[in-house]
Subunit: 482 residues, 4 copies
């Protein structure tokens, strides 16, 4: 298994084509935005090497018999699913920022079980190809990024109905030795700093017309024809403008995803890395499984983020001298209530998981979607409560640069103090920490990762056995006998 330094070393060997703020990024390692997720990812590697955390962060691969990080593990039991949720909360507690590696784990588990089913039914050899890929990933201890979300154009039209046929990634050429693909993946979390990218469709293909859009494969992040254009939002602007405590989380920054628009401009994929090539009738299960897992992660992640927000809110209440007010206690209780609701559902959905024919386990679909929807709704409540307790300083806090400017430093130190015994700087740090978790585009990042809430609602609706519920009522109401 790799260390953080090994991971950073591995990035030196790739040369992805990345743009940001109108310029080509020469070196991802030194880019002022990308250095934060790289630091976070490196930390996940280092923690996994720490023997104290081996039960939480590592396991043994049934494929290779070797110790691997849970990030690259196929779930073999509901215990594995529970362990995954605990790994997630553990790591997010220590990072307070995106760990970035979740999408790969979804891809690994979704493709494992789906290629198995394809081979069983169609006699293809996708699963065999995939196992080779997985062995390499586990052996190299790679950071795999999963790329799924297409740019979609007009949301009302199927891929083949779009004015521009490239609004969903598609096969534009099938060669003997592989395929050529074109299109773009949106909101991609960190592929430009990954070791491998696993690409999948984001939507169910319903018939032969959309066959070319049923495509999945692994690709190197710097393969010819791939271009990344980085996001630039409010948090990014602050990250570029500031150093130190203005970021709030001074250890791993305030980054929720380091996303990019990932463009595939006629990229060649060799046959051995192709895991789906037109089998549209398998897109439903692939999309559904990867989607379920994407939502599962959120429910391990969110409680940790909420813990941090709750902790910071409690701190600012103490620094302001009001931690014992009844309304503050009541609001902190509500924050904990919301947090643990998501966590309890995260555990419940893992425990009630079931095996696919391949032996890989999936969490309970219905509960996973309930949990994700709870987490999405809860975030806004937590933000409201945190902002309420923190006060207007979340808006009006001056920069650390003013705090360090001898002309006005003493004013800030004097007047931004809360209770006398806590240094003003500590208070400012906590306010910035809360600002980072409540302001900027965090809401949207937490809202949409794992897919739009209407998808979750659809799963909840479909996952509810209304017929059974009706049957029970008909007996009790005397409409039918048992």
């Amino acid at each position: 298994m790799r260390s953080g330094a090994d991971y950073i070393e591995s990035l030196k060997k790739t040369k992805p084509v990345v743009y940001h703020l109108g310029k080509r990024v020469d070196n991802v390692l030194e880019h002022p935005l990308l250095r934060w997720p790289i630091k976070a990812i490196a930390r996940t590697y280092d923690l996994a090497l720490d023997p104290r955390y081996s039960g939480i962060l590592t396991t043994t691969s049934p494929l290779t018999g070797e110790k691997i990080e849970r990030w690259n593990h196929v779930f073999g039991s509901t215990d594995d699913l529970v362990a995954r949720q605990k790994q997630m909360r553990f790591l997010q507690h220590r990072l307070g920022s995106c760990a970035l590696r979740c999408t790969g784990l979804g891809a690994i588990n979704g493709l494992y079980s789906t290629t198995y089913d394809m081979d069983q039914k169609l006699g293809t050899d996708y699963h065999k190809r995939f196992l080779e890929f997985l062995k390499r990933v586990q052996k190299d201890d790679s950071f795999v990024s999963g790329a799924m979300m297409d740019v979609k154009g007009n949301r009302r039209l199927r891929p083949s109905q779009q004015a521009d046929p490239d609004m969903y990634l598609r096969i534009v050429e099938e060669r003997k030795d592989g395929i050529v693909v074109r299109g773009a993946k949106a909101h991609q979390t960190g592929p430009m700093i990954a070791n491998e990218v696993a690409v999948m469709p984001c939507d169910v293909m319903r018939n032969e017309k959309d066959r070319d859009y049923a495509v999945s494969f692994a690709i190197a992040p710097d393969a010819k024809g791939i271009t990344y254009i980085l996001q630039h939002n409010l948090a990014d602007a602050l990250t570029l403008a500031c150093e130190g405590m203005d970021l709030g989380n001074i250890r791993y920054g305030c980054q929720f995803g380091a996303t990019s628009l990932m463009i595939f401009d006629d990229v060649f994929v060799p046959e051995e890395q192709v895991f789906m090539q037109g089998e549209w009738e398998f897109t439903r299960q692939l999309v559904s499984r990867v989607g379920t897992m994407a939502r599962m992660w959120q429910c391990g992640c969110r409680p940790a983020i909420f813990d941090l927000l709750t902790g910071a809110t409690r701190l600012i209440a103490e620094y302001n001298g009001v931690a014992d007010s009844s309304h503050i206690r009541s609001k902190l209780t509500e924050m904990s209530y919301l947090t643990e609701t998501v966590w309890g559902l995260a555990i419940g959905s893992a425990v009630l998981g079931e095996a696919t024919p391949s032996g890989a386990y999936l969490p309970d679909q219905l509960l996973t979607n309930v949990a994700k929807l709870q987490s999405t709704r809860a975030y806004y409540e937590l933000v409201k409560l945190a902002i309420d307790i923190t006060g207007g300083l979340v808006v009006s806090i001056p920069s650390e640069k003013d705090y360090r400017n001898p002309d006005v430093s003493q004013y800030i130190d004097k007047y931004l103090r809360g209770v006398a015994e806590v240094p003003t700087e500590h208070r400012m740090r906590v306010v910035r920490f809360i600002q980072a978790l409540t302001g900027g585009p965090v809401a949207a990042a937490l809202h949409h990762s794992g897919g739009p809430i209407e998808n979750q609602k659809i799963v909840i609706y479909r996952g509810t056995d209304f017929e059974e519920k009706k049957r029970l009522v008909k007996f009790l109401a005397g409409i039918e006998e048992e």
Copy 2:
């Protein structure tokens, strides 16, 4: 193990003193309110005998080595806790009305572990006495009712501070062979139709002044000096006035508790049935454990009740011809979402349970309280959605007696029809079913069973490790190093 008929037979041997609507109840078996809970309880016995459900409803007692109902079982593992939640949802699906036996299970588990701890620390023999009681209960397959909630008087005053010292049940005399108690238990669910009553304090006693209120024991429901005065609320009035479909649930009625005010007018309790006699320092753990379990049951019960309400709502939507409206689907989705939130938390709190020193398991306290609070809040949302979809007929539905009156029967049949192919009677039955679950005192019954929500909030607040959360933030915000 007993059958339903055996249980009914057992009631013939008792002569509890019961009052209702200003009169003495001669025979509980024939009383128009009590016959419904008796029917429901009898059904729980019959189902437990059904070999198809033996895994769900029965287990083996480590105490006797014999097959027993889960109702009288001490939880020996987290699997037992999960099984309990499944038992609950299973039974409530079939009853749609209160199963009444939960309070005894809480008493059994709470007293098992607390008397163990008392004997360990104090050298008493309460646990030994309790085991004798438990063996009898398991052998007889008894219905045990737990009595906990005192009438409390002025809620701001401790028991010994009350103007009337009897506002909490207390020991008024200590004899060689037992104790004499006085006071009243409020909202008691079904002790007058139980085989045994286990009495416990409802609040933490804080010092020697409240010593006499630290009392727990088992007693026969018809012991000398015990009087019951039954509740009479809106649902009871309907139950008395109607037969058949006006009740909604024609199988087990619309009863949520068959509660009574249970008065102890200087009742003698023989020593061998006393499980606590003044050890006020153990009241905290007894109250907390029994309270946690009382809340645990709700979280297995509520999803089943919500399932029935959802099923009935879906039925009425179908009978009205609108089941496919997008807003109906959206509302049904929300109903399922709320239901499964409670269920997922019920499972999560069971899975994360832990053993007490006695070996008896308790569910996770924090998650259990989160789950109960979710269930309480969810009910009102479900009611709102159900009423919304059902329409004004929930208010304005005529009685079955009019429907059977040949003068107007044809009018009702003609005009209260929804979609042409469904009989009007079916529609009326479903409306009544929804009325029973949304109207009357159901809200209050579901709200308060398991204790007031502020108790749950206190547990959530205390159960939240704010110090750990603060520590994590202090590292990330740069206030402290690791």
Copy 3:
């Protein structure tokens, strides 16, 4: 203007055909359910005669120049609309139960302006006919009941598409001197104890096929062919079973509507009382105007009901000794917040009202629907808070009959006492009062009167000027210039 006694006298002259609980009702004045609404209505008459309240409850009719009750007044200004809201809150404070007369006021105002428009456009004389009717009503100081809601059958089908063509009230014969109608009106509030009934369609008729359903007229409550079947729900059962304090509101009972299924079995309506006869293109505005007003009333009524619930909750908190707890104060604050939200919107929607071509004023449609939706959602929150503070006694309270039974009276008096200085009976009265307002079918009555919430949402959606909002954004975002 009439007194309450005059009103009661007027009922002696009618002989409506009414059924309840399987029997013909001989005399509405002595019927145990109907006596409560009759008492409430009589009180509205008596209060209007009280000179202290003349500004609030009466005004001068521009039609007759005489002093009339606001109940039968055509709104001539936004001041009139505000006055109406104040009249409503004033009366509901004093009744605590349904005043029943709202539907007539909606009918009067809706028909006044719509018949005016019809005559203007079509050259008919409906408005003239209507003015004659209105003069009589104002002169007699009649209680007019408006009948609108059809039974509707399959909600997905238009009236003429139903399997049974009578699912919406319709003209079955057009004679020289009048029309014959058949069908049924559902959930009708008090027509059997009214002096006049104004009948209107409940839905928009879209084309000539539904022409026969575009019908409006006035009719005597005991006209030949009209039959009423009364509701019978949980609150009704309690009302029948109990006297005195078990009802909660011992002055006017717990009745929200005294509704009935009102059947028109080929009823003849003389021409001079017909206000619409096939003009389907005017149904949209009639339905919309009457609907808007129906929702307007709720927003004057609800704050008063909520005031009572809040007052009762505060009382029980005091009787329990906890009125000063911070969580109780916080919950009472929330109750007031919800109440005043509806009230502020009630006033806002009145102030922003506008005149129709006839000179009659309508409240602002958008705000009225917003207000009604707020009131509907708020009720469940208030119930939750009230139940929370009241405790389980809302379920488990024994009947007054037990309290009067010397065998157990002393037990109840002793053990159901809260703070020592408040008589137990007072505490029981308040618990019953809260039970009446939170239990039973009140939720559904408050939810649905004024129409289903989806109707309100449709009005809100349609009433929102999205184009204007988009235009503003396009300028600010630089998509368009001003």
Copy 4:
């Protein structure tokens, strides 16, 4: 009355001492953050000169008899209060960003009525002094900034109890010709670009010990001893980093307040500008009145901000091709519902306003606080809905600089297109517009302006007549006779 250019000209005459990002700001007019609020304020002046809007934006001063902007007007009627709400919604529609001038209007109205009462009771001449100030302000058409919020230190301690006595602004010296003050005002909106600053206490002073903190006066923004340190949050960082469409609102930027820490380092105030000097017993009414008005503005402002967010959300739904989805319609309906709730309450609270002894009108306190609390809670709901509909692009949108970079411009144009017929740039502009209104520190700015929500709750609790509500219940429940 001045034009926008006149206002800008007026700023050239002041030399406030301002710091930002560690540096002294040479010229506020050219500062990259401050230029946006200056532009917005200038626009308010220009619009007031536009004869089309004279009813909305201007009125006649009873003091001078001349036409003035509503910004500097003392409310003489409830019509004035309603007009103020309409002015606010009108302006916010056109600015989409903070108008900044509200705090002065609160100060003017609060000081007008309070100095009047002080003079009446104490025989002082504060009101006379204040009228001179007001005449000058109205004559010069000045932008007055109100400074109220102290930095507060330990929130549990009264001003005189703080470890540092300067945590609330105080009089440190009383001279013959005036006073010297020390302290700091937090979150001050735009005083460094104002013409006058009116300073008031932020909290009620309870006794003589806090006498020196009962101080109010007018001061020039660049008076000797005043230093401003500007805020620097995420939105500010974006504003500095970007030009053009990345700001979302390209006309007036994304600034909610341009706040600063405003330090008074022993500032001399001449006697004629002092409006309160130690009269602590009048702080309660001053704080309460200014606070009520501060909350009143929010309720005129918020509906306009919400309109813009709703309009933008509708636009993005159209650009994505999903505007007709039922769930989108349902969410847009909810956005409108929330918006109009605040608006209806804004109107209701104005209409029910009452005169103070001075003749100046105050809005209804209870409803104003209800409205503000609704607006605060509503914002988070609107954000959730807007983010939900907009999708992940709110996070992952690339900068305009990339869009203008010929290397990747074609990729962005191709792949970020929604429906084919809408230019990609338009879609990006709307996403940025939504980002500006939902991300960054907007939530906190909207949450806290007008004071913390607990203050609003206190007013709601105190403003609720529980005694009257109890009295009504006691009659209806039979506890008391009328």
